[in-house]
Amino acid sequence: MRPSKRLFVRTLAGAAVFAAFAGAASAQQVVKIGLLATLEGPFAAGGADGMRGADMAVRERGGMVAGKKIEVIKASSDAKPDVAVNATRKLVEQDKVDIMVGPLSGSEGIAVKDYSKTQPNITFINGSSGAQATTLVNPSPNFFRFNTEGAQWMVGLGKAALDKGYKRVMVIAEDYAFPYSQVQGFMVEYCRLGGKVPVKAWVPLGGKDYASVIARIPKDVDALVVVLGGADAVNFLNQYEQAGGDKPLVGGSITVSQDILNYKGKRRDSLVGTIAGAPVAEAFDGADWKKFVADYQKAYPVSAGGYPSPSLFAFVYYVNMKAALQGLDEVKGDLSDGQKKYREALAKMVLKTPTGEVRLDSNRQAIGTSFVTEVAKDSKGELYNKVLRKVDNVDQMLGMKKEEFKIGSRDEPNCP
C-alpha cells in the first residue's frame, strides 16, 4: 500500500477502536430519541426545517437531560404512510430508541399512531402531523400530540373573514385528511356566523394544472379559501394571477407559510392582505417568540439554508421535542416500568411554548394557541405574516359539544 493509504487505513482503524471504546463507556448514560421527518418528496423543505426545530430544542438543554446525554437518531420518510411506519419500526425495534418524535404529515401520523399501539412500552410524540383523526378516532394511549392540529389552527379565521366582508366564499383545497381538518375548522365558525360556501373544489395532491379549477370560480363569491401547500400553492397563486383573477384569498396554515412566501421566484404582491389561520405568526411580539426567532436566525442563517423566520414545521417540531425533554426532566430520566411515570408526567404537563401555554386533553391532544394572521410587506420588501388576533385555549372540539362535533371530510361541514 502507498504510505498515505496506509496512514488513512490506520487512522480509520484507530478511530473505529476509539469510537467503540467511547461508545461502550457512555452506553448507560444515554437516552435515545428517534426523530422522523419527511426529507424526501413533496414536503422535503418542511421536513428539513422541522429537524432544525427539534435540534434547537436539544441544543437549548446543552445536549443533556436529567444527567443523561441525548442521542438523536434521525430517519426520513417521503410523506407515504408505509415508508413512515417502516422508518419508525426501524428506529424503535432496531435502533432501540426510548422515545419517538415524528412524523411530519397527516396521513403518516395516523399510520404511526396505529403502529404505536403495538409498542406499548415506547412513548410516541408527534412531529407536526395535523390530521384530526390521529387523536380523535381510536386514539393510542402512548401517542402524544403537543401541537394543535389543522382544525384548531383555523379558529378565529371564520369571524375574521366575515369581518372583512367575505360573505360567500369558494373553497379550493387538496383532497386529503389535513385539508379536511383545516376546512372544517374554518367552516364550523364561518357557517355558524352566517357565511355561505356555495362551491368546494377538492383537487388531487400534486395536481399542477389549476386552470380548470380557476375557470370554475363563480362570479358571485367574495373570496377564495385556498388550503393548498407547497408546490400546489405556488402553482395556484401563479396561475390565478396570470389568468387575471383578482379575488382576495383566505389561506390555510401552509398556504402562506414561510416556505411559500419565500419561494424562488417573483414576490407575489397579490398575496398582501391574505388572512390565514396558523399556529405561528412571524410578527408576533411575545418575548418568548422573539427569543425563539432570534435563536433560530443565529443558528440557521439564510446563507446556511434556513428561512428568514422559522416556519410552522420548525416551531411545531421544537414544541414536541421540548415536551419530550421536559417530561424526561420531570421524572428525572426514569423510563422504567414501561415508561409509566414518564407518560403520566407528559399527560399532566403544562408546557411553556414561545406562543403560549399548552396542556393536553383526555386524548393526549394539545390545547393551545392559534393566530389569525394577515400577509404584509416589511421595510425590506419581504412578505411576512402579521398578527390580527390571538386565540388561546383552543381545544380539539373547537368549543362544540362532543355530540355535535363531526370530523372534517369532503362533505362535512356543509353550508351552501
Binding site: 418528496g41 414536503f43 428539513a48 399542477k208 386552470a211 402553482n235 396570470q242 387575471g244 439554508g305
Partner: protein, 315 residues
Amino acid sequence: MSRFWKWFWGIAIGGPIAVFVVWALASNERLFLVTLLNGLTLASLYFIVAAGFTLVFGLMRNVNLAHGSLYILGGYLGYVVAEQTGFWLVALAAGFLVAAIVGLAMQVSIFRFMQGEDLRQTMVTIGLSIVIADLLLWTFGGQVHQLSPPAWLDGPLRGIPVINAYSKYRLALLPLGIAIGVLLWLFLNRTRVGMLIRAGVDDRGMLSASGVNVNLVFAITFAIGAGLAGFGGVIGAVELSMVPGEDVRLLLASLVVVIVGGMGSVVGAAIGAAILGVAETFGLAYAPTYSVVFTFVILVLVLAFRPRGILGRPA
C-alpha cells in the same frame, strides 16, 4: 375496417362527445371555451416534450425513460440562467442546449455500445432517470422554483369575447407549439439530415448499408430529442413550476401521448397530445375526481383496437 364499422365507431365515439359539447356550451359557454383553450395549450406543452420522445424511439427504438429527467434538468437550468441574465429567451435556449448536450453525452458514451439491446437500453435510462432526479433534488432542494414569464407575456389578455381574460403566456403556448411542430416537420421532410432520419426509421439496416454514418445520425437525433425535452422544461417551469416529481408526470404524459398517437410519428404525437390535453382539462373541469379515468379509458381503447397507436407504424 369495413365502411359499416367505421360509421359505427364514428357515431359511438363522436355521438356522446357531440352531445356533451352541445350541453356544455348551453349551460356555461365561458367555462367550455376556457377549458378548450386550457386543453389546447396544455397539449402544446405535451406535444413539444413528446415529440422528442417519439423521435428518439422512432429512430433508435430506445424507450428513453430518462426523458422526464431531461425535462426538469432543462427547467432548473433555465431558471438559473433566467435569474442570472434576466432574459427568458436566453433561458429557453440554455434549457434546450443543456439538455441536448446531456442527451448527446448519454448517447455517445452509453447507448452507442448497446446497439440492438433495446431492453437493456431502457433499463439504463431508468437508472439514469433516478440518478439525475436525485442529483437535481440535492442541488436545488425540495423548494418550488417558479420561473416568471417575460414581461411582454405577463398577466392576462383582457377583452376577449365571452372569456373576458386569459393568461397571455398560456395563450402564447399555442402558436409556439404549432411553430415547433412546423419546424420539426420542415426539418424531417426538407433537410438532408431529416431525410436520413426518416430513412432510418423505416429501415435502419438499409441506412447503414448505404454508407451513412448511422452513429452520427443517432447522436443528432438523440440530441434534438433531449433538447426538446429541456426546451419544454423551461416552458413548463413558468406554467407549472419546477418541483421534484415533475419528471415522472411529464414522462407519463409523453408515454400516453406516444402510445395514443403512435410510435415514431411526429404528427401522431400532435394528435395524441391534443387528445390527452383536452381530455385531461375537460376531466378536471367537469368531473375532477375522475379526470384520470378518462385518460385511462382512452388509453385502453386505443390499445385494444389500435395497439400501435393512431398513426403508428409496425416495429
